[in-house]
């Protein structure tokens, strides 16, 4: 087995992993960095983020506003001290990216431009046309090339962590091109493997978003926090789940039902005005918008499409010129996949799974309870998204906490003595044997594609926009069953070179673990908060019992054990989450009561 | 950046190729028409337009000389460059030999035309 000795190993070459790698390299150029990614970094799913990245920029905006939007948007399940740190660093990090070459869209006088985004009081979303994630990722990737201390392991698939003396000391990865194993020894490890949206059927996520890192940490005893909070994005393509960015609404798009009626005004988001107003109507938060869709469907006011009910995203009034200038990628998507020209016809849309708010439990410095193990990005739960993430906060999270994770992991790596290589190698060989067993064993009868489909369907059924105890219970049972059936899986491919059948099986096993944490955490949260909404007697938020983070703990060969942890409240006491005119009124009242 | 990069000498040939390509694109068809069709067959232009005294005078004039030289030499350098690359395209990488035949003949032709033009006097 190949062995590489690094100071810091980073699993994940998306926005978070790359930012962390650069931070390590800049903090100490003598540290050796191993950057492991199962796809070439620029293929990571950060690439598909369209809308933008939040950071206070405009006159009249303030850190306090950004803080309030984030904490309120997260239904007060945020770590407020972490949010405070986060909002204070966003603009600086986005400026850093500008210095590295990110082609931010500009105002006429050459400054970076900002746009409106859902749930944000003031325009503070930095954007690069409608390819923000693409430009951020490519900028980070290309900048990372500048640092000789970053050794990339592209298309290396991480299959396990190695632990010794109670701390994480490296990772084991498969070189996909050869099927051979590599042990990367490291003083500290950062997991930046992204979200897990593909455990659901209809989702906006790329094929690689399978929760690998979450499952890895979880299996090594690190809790997954707040996993029941899964964000549905309200404007997705029926069938494929592909996303039409929130910027469509930021630019002034309307959501209308089958009668051409802007139905959001019926759900406390009004009044309906012709131009976008922040935190109202179409610019309300995602959970509310997705929920409104569900209600419209119950009322029979949605439109029947080929893939089930849809509503319309109407952009026609923006005009062809503006559409092509500000939303070129949206126009392209609609035309190619749906045959719809947004300038001439409304786009059929529906909600789809988009983002996992929860993840690997870490403190504000990205450190997990397992010494030497850090996590950052969508796979982590650093505490800024609470029960519902605001669009454009997560790209900023990658930068702000990517840097933190890098600096912290570098510091940790320097503070520890080198590990016992012989013992680590022995562990890695055991991992190799176990993982290879999956493809060499015979006599299985289950097909991974079948198991994967059943998993995605049951997650959709039980953990959708609205949830009920009995369907969630069914989902939990089904997942238990699928895990049992996975043991009997049969691979069609026993080869070594680019054996994707094998890798998909490993991913499926990760996904099943992550899905379980979501379903079990959801079942046990008997309240409605943010993205977790119940219709079985727990329709209200319950701050007495559930102003708590859920923590899913791994139990070998069993269901996860769910425990609860405190939420850090500093300046913002839980209040009513109100938007539109009601929200403005509520805010005035809050202000008045403060003086 | 990779070290040990060797600067390519292509710009010389490329510039000649480009010049010839542009000149032939601009006036090539009309020239062919004039010298090969119109004058020999008395279409549009009188046959006498290319009579010996007229052509001699033309070739003894500075500008005329330059024009004739440019046309012959640049056309050939253009063609040589393209043909050389096409040989490479179809898998004939004779290298030195192909290079010699293509650019060599352009070179010889250039010399010959210069020699004749100068010999015609001013």
């Amino acid at each position: 087995m190949e062995v590489f000795k690094a100071d810091v190993a980073i699993v994940g070459g998306g926005g978070a992993g790359l930012r962390a790698a650069i931070a390590v390299a800049e903090s100490d150029p003598t540290l050796k960095i191993a950057l492991v990614s199962k796809v070439y970094p620029m293929r990571s799913h950060t690439v598909s983020a369209e809308g933008g990245s939040a950071g206070v920029k405009k006159e009249g905006d303030s850190l306090e506003y950004h803080f309030n939007d984030t904490v309120g948007g997260g239904d007060w399940l945020c770590e407020q001290d972490v949010v405070e740190f986060f909002v204070s660093k966003c603009a600086e990090e986005l400026t850093q990216l500008e210095h590295w070459g990110c082609p931010w869209s500009r105002t006429e006088d050459g400054h970076v431009n900002v746009r409106a985004f859902g749930g944000m009081k003031i325009e503070r979303t930095w954007f690069a046309a409608d390819k923000t994630g693409f430009h951020m990722l490519h900028t980070l990737f290309q900048t990372s090339i500048k640092y000789p201390s970053i050794k990339r392991f592209d298309e290396h698939f991480c299959v396990d962590l190695v632990k010794e003396d109670g701390r994480c000391q490296g990772v084991v990865a498969i070189e996909m091109a050869s099927g051979e194993f590599t042990l990367i020894e490291a003083g500290s490890v950062i997991i930046a493997t992204g979200g897990a949206g593909r455990v659901f059927r209809e989702n906006t996520n790329g094929g690689v978003v399978t929760g690998d890192g979450m499952a890895l940490a979880y299996r090594h005893g690190v809790p997954l926090r707040d996993m029941e909070f899964v964000q549905y994005h309200p404007t997705c393509m029926p069938g494929t789940g592909l996303l039409f960015t929130e910027a469509c609404r930021g630019e002034g798009g309307f959501l209308v039902n089958k009668d051409g009626y802007r139905y959001l005004q019926d759900y406390g988001l009004g009044p309906a005005e012709p131009t976008p107003r922040n935190k109202a109507m179409e610019l309300g938060p995602r959970d509310r918008l997705s929920q409104a869709f569900w209600h419209e469907q119950q009322k029979g006011r949605t439109i029947e499409g080929r893939y089930g009910p849809v509503v319309h995203l109407d952009l026609r009034h923006l005009g062809a010129t503006k559409l092509h200038e500000r939303l070129p990628q949206i126009c392209e998507l609609a035309e190619q996949f749906l045959g719809v020209d947004p300038a001439l016809a409304p786009i059929p849309i529906r909600p789809a799974v988009h983002y996992t708010m929860g993840g690997i439990m870490v403190n504000g410095l990205c450190a997990s309870p397992l010494p030497g193990l850090y996590a950052v990005g969508e796979c982590s739960s650093v505490g800024i998204h609470g029960a519902n993430r605001l669009g454009s906060n997560s790209l900023s999270e990658l930068l702000v906490f990517g840097k933190v994770a890098g600096v912290e992991a570098a510091g940790f790596a320097k503070s520890v003595a080198p590990g016992n290589s012989a013992s680590l190698l022995k562990q890695a060989k055991a991992v190799e044997q176990r993982v290879t067993g999956l493809k060499t064993k015979t006599g299985g009868t289950e097909k991974i594609s079948v198991l994967r489909k059943e998993m995605a369907q049951t997650m959709e059924d039980g953990c959708g926009i609205y949830r009920l105890a009995d369907t969630m219970q069914k989902t939990c049972n089904k997942l238990d069953e699928l895990k049992a059936r996975f043991k009997n899986v049969n691979l069609e491919d026993g080869s070594s070179v680019w054996n994707t059948d094998w890798l998909l099986a490993i991913e499926l096993e990760y996904q099943l673990d992550v899905a379980q944490t979501m379903a079990y955490s959801a079942l046990q949260r008997r309240e409605s908060r943010g993205a977790h909404q119940r219709l079985d007697g727990y329709e209200q938020r319950d701050d007495v019992n559930f102003l708590k983070h859920s923590e899913a703990n791994y139990v070998a060969d069993g269901a996860p054990r769910i425990s609860y942890g405190d939420v850090k409240i500093t300046k913002s006491q839980p209040g009513v989450r109100a938007y539109g005119a009601a929200g403005e009124k509520a805010e005035k009242e809050r202000k008045a009561s403060h003086v | 950046m990779k070290s040990g990069l060797k600067r390519s000498n292509a710009p010389i040939f490329w510039a000649l190729f480009g010049g010839g390509g542009m000149l032939s694109a601009l006036v090539g068809p009309m020239l062919v028409f004039i010298t090969g069709i119109a004058i020999p067959f008395g279409l549009l232009l009188p046959e006498g337009a290319m009579s010996y005294p007229k052509m001699l005078a033309f070739a003894q004039n500075w500008l005329g000389k330059a024009f004739v030289f440019a046309v012959i030499a640049l056309f050939l350098w253009h063609a040589a460059h393209r043909i050389f690359h096409t040989l490479h395209d179809v898998g004939i990488h004779a290298g030195v030999a192909a290079r010699l035949i293509c650019y060599g003949s352009a070179f010889v032709a250039t010399l010959v035309s210069a020699y004749v033009l100068l010999g015609l006097g001013f």
Partner: protein
Amino acid sequence: MSESQKTIEIEVLRYNPETDQAPHLQVFQVPFADDMSVLQGAQYIKDHLDGSLSFRWSCRMAICGSCGMMVNGEPHLSCQTFLRDYYPARVRIEALSHFPIERDLVINMEGFIDKLESIQPYIIPKEKRSLAQGEYLQTPEQLNAYEQFSSCINCMLCYAACPQFGLNADFVGPAAMALLHRYNMDSRDGAAEERMELVAAEEGVFNCTAVGYCSEVCPKQVDPANAVNINKTNAAKDYFLRFLSPKGGSK
């Protein structure tokens, strides 16, 4: 599959280095729907007909650049190429041309990555600026000068389209040149001269014979042929000017 279900034949170039001497074609019958992409066709094969088929994909929305394939001999992103444009005829999919095949539709792209790294694809600032000084000012016009070249998704369709790259794998090639040009044209950057060394080298722009097919197939309208050819002029200028000025031009 019900009888009324329409099907389409997808012919796939298969290659398994452990068992095959050379690639060979294999035909699959795939249920057809008119909104189905070629990628979805391949996924159907993998999920239902032959789990050993290997190919790269991720975003499904033409932005990650993973899923390039030859579709009936032309380079395409399989996620935004639709079976309806071929139905009812058979479609043939193959690994991207001009690259070594690792397995089935998976090519070896290490050479491309080396090229990408060789062009110094990052800002080397003209004048340093601290974070406290805020962003560099860049007008929409200045942004426009390079934006097109910055939208390359590294899908390598242009390499699969470029015969000169096929004939000489050392040629830096269209996408890497487009990226190089992107940085040279960025008002914040000051290293155009350093990058000129590669432009003018034997691996550089003069391998291009202006075939132009690279730009034709580019799914993001990067126009890499333009970047390559503008740099021929730049390299030629540099070549001749160095005789004029003692300092002019790169080494």
